[in-house]
């Protein structure tokens, strides 16, 4: 054996994962070489190397090494220069959890627990939830079983660190010969070294991105192209057109509408086929539209790109369309100075049974899903104007809903056999979908007050269900870690989106219907292509389970709220977090964008509705990059309720904000 070979061997050893056997082998090899005649002097001549090797053989399998090594590294990091301290401290968390998992993996349960408890305080502030999960891991088999631990073991952590900090760390590790720590760091941390001064400690959101191999796939996935633009020929477009052509005769408008209807009929006839003639027709139309847009450049500042629908979208009846257009015309323009009015629906006497609330697009219908498997639908228009004559006739026909006691002023929908976790109204408000712990999704008609279809497909409780912005299609997500796309006329799902590592907790449609977003207990949000069923974006950054999602009306941004009260704004095209919106101190149950996308409303378990100025947060990012100062608090208003957690929020098309929640007795 020549020295080069030995060096190679040692290097290979260091890289190897199964550390102990290799050390033994090395020892044996050393013995052999000692007995042998040649080259043995090499080792003895190189005192550092022998020391290194000695240290391996001595401390092999000794659980206290982890503790010593970690505490030394920790005190060193805490005593380092202030400028580099926060970067070095970032290294501590991955080292900590891997030390712990190494200890558990080697069966030193007691030492592992002691180690964990003595240092957990350092990391509780940021990583409390992860620590709570890891705390339960006590036996090697748990490491295999628990997907969180497994993913940690298999992946690397990316840490951005400046050149000098990196040098400092390496110098320290070599000088103190803390090979164990060096091993862990090499094995689990992937340093992204950059030259220059260390970053300010505030932007550590993407400085530490856990899950390395996962990260790679995520990066890979996020390379994919997505078309976040709105649908061409959307109602908003039409509104703009009609708005400018208002002086024109009604006839022209009617003609164009007829054309539209024909067009969409054709579309629905040729599902999946996508004839070239149709495409041409569309192109013509698009050209026409852009021409029109170009004509009114004054009114539209930056026309978002338009995309084609990948799904055959349902045809909207003209009177529904009319009413929507009317609403859009009457929409209040909201901004940071023009705040919306908030109408609050408080559920009383729920006896802690209200699991979800949903408000129809016009705010007139409110549905509540209860833990006793029932769904109750209130017609607020009727309640509000019980005496008015205009609605009298209508209410007469609906009188059959009123129960035998004649007192009930809601419609009771019974059919589920487990707690109802979600309910959603179709855009015109004629259908309700509900999902339940009994693994089914049910479709109800608000006109017939009856169950129409039961969709079975999920194997576990269905956490959330959402109608697409145009109706007909809907998406659901479940404890079985999948999200599924359905259409109302099929009892089987059309697509199954699998990929999340834990429960899929919430789902939301993109305004152009080509994508859905899902939030999960694995702390990520994913964006899926509805047509192909592929994951096209992964948004990493949340620190706890994602509970609510909202898409901006222009389709460009997404907001997600988590269990800790953090709301994150994402740019769909880059999959990066624009800014975290901090302010809530408990679960964010619901998010909603205002009609023109300038405000974001969030409802939380801390009994507040908050309004966020999202135009400034998206605009200021450029300024921030220049200035380097981050002003993250862009909360405009906070509306506290009287001890009512806010379950649901919805901006109506006219930009009136509806909120709903169940009155809960304040904890005394």
């Amino acid at each position: 054996m020549d020295p080069e070979q030995v060096d190679e061997f040692v290097m290979g050893y260091l890289k190897k994962k199964g550390f102990n056997n290799a050390a033994k082998q090395l020892q044996e090899a050393l013995h052999h070489n000692n007995g042998g005649t040649f080259n043995s002097t090499d080792y003895h001549n190189d005192p550092e190397l022998t020391k290194l090797i000695r240290s391996f053989s001595q401390s092999e399998n000794d659980p206290t090494r982890y503790r010593d090594g970690y505490s030394k590294l920790r005190s060193w990091a805490y005593n380092s220069l202030d400028l580099y301290k926060h970067e070095l401290l970032r290294v501590m968390y991955p080292v900590f959890i891997h030390c712990y998992m190494d200890l558990v993996g080697k069966g030193h349960t007691q030492e592992a627990r002691a180690f964990f408890n003595s240092f957990r305080k350092d990391h509780e502030m940021i990583h409390l939830r992860d620590l709570q999960k890891l705390e339960g891991v006590l036996v090697p088999s748990h490491l295999e079983e628990m997907e969180f631990a497994r993913s940690l073991r298999q992946s690397k952590v990316n840490i951005k660190i400046c050149q000098y900090s990196y040098d400092l760390l390496l110098q320290y590790l070599h000088r103190t010969e803390s090979t164990l720590m060096l091993g862990i760091i090499n094995e689990h941390i992937n340093f992204q070294v950059y030259s220059g001064q260390p970053n300010s400690s505030s932007d550590d959101i993407d400085a530490v991105t856990i899950v390395g191999s996962f990260q790679e796939t995520a990066d890979h996935i996020n390379q994919k192209e997505i078309q976040w633009g709105l649908l061409e020929d959307s109602l908003e477009d039409r509104l703009e057109k009609t708005g400018s052509l208002l002086s024109d005769s009604e006839k022209g408008q009617g003609e164009s509408k007829d054309g539209d209807v024909d067009d969409s009929k054709k579309r629905s006839n040729e599902i999946g086929k996508q004839g070239s003639s149709l495409k041409k027709l569309k192109k013509d139309k698009a050209g026409n539209a852009t021409a029109k847009v170009a004509r009114q450049e004054t009114s539209i500042v930056s026309p978002a790109p338009r995309v084609k629908p990948e799904l055959a979208l349902p045809v909207m009846s003209t009177d529904v369309e009319e009413s929507i257009l009317e609403d859009l015309r009457n929409r209040v323009q909201l901004s940071s100075v023009a705040m919306p009015s908030v109408s609050f629906y408080t559920f009383v006497n729920t006896h802690n049974g209200l699991n979800c609330a949903s408000i129809s697009h016009d705010g007139s219908l409110v549905a509540g899903g209860f833990s006793d498997s029932s769904i109750k639908v209130w017609d607020m228009a009727k309640i509000g104007q019980a005496g008015s004559g205009a609605l009298q006739g209508e209410s007469d026909t609906n009188d059959q809903n009123v129960g035998p006691n004649g007192r009930r002023n809601y419609t009771l929908l019974l059919g589920h056999s487990g707690p109802v976790y979600s309910a959603t109204f179709s855009p015109p408000g004629d259908f309700v979908l509900s999902s339940s712990a009994d693994t089914t999704i049910r479709l109800w008609s608000t006109q017939l007050n009856a169950n129409l279809v039961c969709y079975k497909g999920h194997n576990y409780p269905v956490w959330d269900v959402q109608f697409s912005p145009f109706g007909h299609y809907f998406a659901s997500c479940s404890h079985d870690r999948t999200a599924r796309i359905w259409s109302m006329d099929r009892v089987q799902p059309l697509r199954i989106m699998a990929g999340h590592l834990s429960d899929v907790d919430c789902v939301q449609w993109h305004p152009n219907c080509n994508y859905i977003a899902t939030g999960s207990s694995d702390k990520t949000v994913r964006l899926w292509d509805v047509q192909t069923g592929e994951c096209v974006r992964i948004f990493i950054g949340h620190r706890s389970m994602v509970l609510s999602l909202a898409m901006s009306p222009d389709g460009r941004y997404m907001a997600s709220g988590d269990e800790d009260g953090t709301i994150m704004m994402w740019d769909l095209s880059t999959a990066r977090c624009i800014t975290p919106l901090m302010g809530h101190n408990s679960c964010v149950w619901s998010l909603s964008y205002s009609g023109e996308g300038s405000l974001l409303a969030s409802g939380s378990a801390d009994c507040t509705v908050k309004l966020w100025d999202v135009t400034s947060s998206t605009k200021l990012t450029k300024a921030e990059e220049k200035n380097g100062n981050t002003n993250r608090l862009r909360s405009l208003r906070t509306f506290p309720t009287k001890s009512t957690p806010v379950h649901a929020l919805r901006f109506s098309r006219r930009n009136l904000l509806f909120a709903a929640g169940a009155l809960s007795k304040p904890a005394s």
Partner: protein, 540 residues
């Protein structure tokens, strides 16, 4: 090691019938049990989150068990919190109290009340970004100043400091509320509803934005409706309710409110009909004034002094009507005994001499005027009496020298009793015993058929005037009075000797003694009912 000790595992094993569990097995099982428990709790928390709750319930745990295809744990589904009890003698052992319930009891128990059905209540959480202060919303700390806005502005551009005009937004609901209250106050047709409205005014938390409107309304209506007795009374009730409301910050509006209130107290004429009981209104308002002074006297130091000045001026101006005097006296009396002592009693003698001619029914042709005079006389007597009563109360109770005098005193009181009853019914007044007595005295010489006391009423005032120095002199045939007067002199003498012996501390008491003497001079026997028996025995 694991949170679950191996003993627990052993106990559980025994409880399900495994007796031969080796300690090693228990030791191995313990960490796994902990892991499984954590796993179930993790799922239970998911269930909790999806039920949009932040407290974990037994049903969440059942849901989590269900997810793992496990049988739920029975017996905890009642929804109420489980009450764990500590096992005595074991520091860390808890158990749930699970009583045995007799079926018979369950069956025979009356059906519980049906729970209330779920309903939806709708309200405005915000109107154009401003939270209306309605009871459904969380109470605001203070009126929101534009400070928040300013800070925001400053953050954006440090150079610009725009002070936005304070926009006062009154929600539709509040406007309606105000209209309704105003209507009720003006209409006077529905007293029960008005009472409800007053209760609402006194308790609603969201009324603060309406305060300026109410003060304006009250001021307007008072100045316009001085002839309308009921309206004034209603308005004063509104004022009182506003004052009572703990959520209303009425201080800044007091200066607008006070003139109206004082008007209702000392105005020459309140209401235009003869039957209008404006005395009641004045009494009520006097109490109101006192309430205001009591509440805001600390913050507005000048409030009380200004008020008393107004009242004393009204009282001492002989040109002012008797009704005004009455109001002033009542107002001063309500402000407390110190005020009475300082301001009323010092002016008592000249005032009474002024009042005297009016009191004499024979001289006074106008019966109405005479009635008013007696009213005023009664009020001032009551004020003085209560004041002296209060003064005397602070005396230490001394052993009463002779039992005969108290009994005499009592006799005197009793002698007026039937009289008082009758009057009490007449004037349909429901007051405290003291007040009732005054009412008797006050309306003595009034136009009501009051022949019983007439002699005394006639006899006393001249007495007062005739008797400048000696009290014994003037006792014309009124035996008990003369005796009392003598006794009183005696007490005075005694008090003086005490003064010699004791110290300057007694000076105050002595003053009250003198005061009493003076009062007695002025009022004669009528002051006696105010004097507690022991003190009377001491002084008289």
């Amino acid at each position: 090691m694991s949170i679950v000790p191996k003993e627990t595992i052993e106990v559980i094993a025994q409880s399900i019938g495994i007796t031969n569990l080796s300690p090693e097995a228990a030791l191995m099982l313990a960490p796994d049990v902990e892991y499984r428990v954590r796993e179930i709790m993790q799922e239970a928390i998911k269930c909790m989150r999806h039920s949009k709750r932040t407290t974990l319930t037994a049903s969440d745990v059942d849901g989590a068990l269900n997810l793992r295809n496990l049988e739920p744990i029975y017996g905890f589904g009642s929804g109420g919190p489980i009450r764990f009890r500590k096992a005595i003698g074991h520091p860390d052992l808890f158990y749930t109290d699970d009583r045995e319930v007799d079926f018979k009891d369950v069956i025979e128990a009356p059906l519980p009340k049906a729970p209330l059905d779920t309903e939806i209540v709708c309200h405005w959480l915000a109107i154009e970004g401003v939270q209306p202060a309605i009871p459904e919303n969380a109470p605001l700390e203070v009126i929101r100043a534009p400070a928040e806005n300013q800070i925001y502005q400053q953050k954006d551009g440090p150079l610009i400091d725009i002070r936005l005009p304070v926009k006062h937004v009154l929600s539709k609901e509040l406007q309606l509320y105000f209209q309704k209250i105003a209507e009720l106050t003006l209409s006077k047709s529905n007293p029960s509803l008005f009472k409800e409205a007053l209760v609402s005014l006194a308790s609603d938390s969201g009324l603060h934005p309406l305060v300026p409107y109410f003060t304006n309304f009250i001021a307007d209506e008072v100045s316009r409706g001085l002839n309308d007795f009921l309206l004034l009374f209603n308005l004063m009730h509104v004022v009182r309710s506003l004052l009572q409301n703990p959520h209303i910050h009425i201080e800044p509006y007091l200066h607008q409110l006070m003139p109206s209130v004082v008007t209702c107290l000392v105005s020459r004429k309140l209401g235009n009909r003869f039957a209008d009981n404006h005395w009641d209104l004045r009494d009520f308002t006097a109490n109101l004034v006192a309430l205001i002074c009591k509440r805001f006297g600390n913050t507005y130091i000048t409030l009380q002094s200004r008020l008393t000045k107004t009242l004393v001026n009204a009282l001492l101006d002989p040109k002012k009507a008797l009704t005004q005097h009455y109001g002033a006296i009542q107002g001063l009396a309500a402000l407390g005994h110190n005020v009475v002592r300082l301001l009323v009693l010092s002016n008592l003698e000249p005032y009474l001499s002024l009042l005297e001619p009016e009191l004499d029914a024979e001289k006074q042709k106008n019966q109405m005027k005479s009635y008013e005079a007696w009213r005023v006389y009664g009020a001032i007597l009551r004020a003085a009496g209560l004041c002296i009563h209060d003064r005397l109360k602070i005396f230490p109770t001394l052993p009463s020298p002779s039992p005969s005098f108290p009994s005499k005193g009592k006799g005197k009181v009793i002698s007026t009793e039937p009289n008082k009853r009758k009057l009490g019914v007449d004037s349909s007044e429901n007051r405290s015993p003291h007040k009732r007595l005054i009412a008797t005295d006050g309306s003595d010489g009034g136009p009501s058929p009051m022949q019983v006391d007439r002699p005394t009423g006639d006899a006393n005032p001249p007495q007062n005037s005739v008797r400048p120095s000696s009290s014994e002199q003037a006792s014309d045939g009124n035996a008990p009075e003369s005796r009392n007067a003598k006794e009183k002199d005696g007490s005075k003498g005694r008090a003086i000797t005490r003064k010699a012996i004791l110290d300057q501390i007694w000076k105050d008491d002595l003053d009250s003694g003198r005061l009493l003497v003076k009062l007695h001079q002025l009022y004669g026997d009528r002051i006696l009912p105010f004097i507690p028996s022991t003190e009377m025995s001491l002084f008289l």
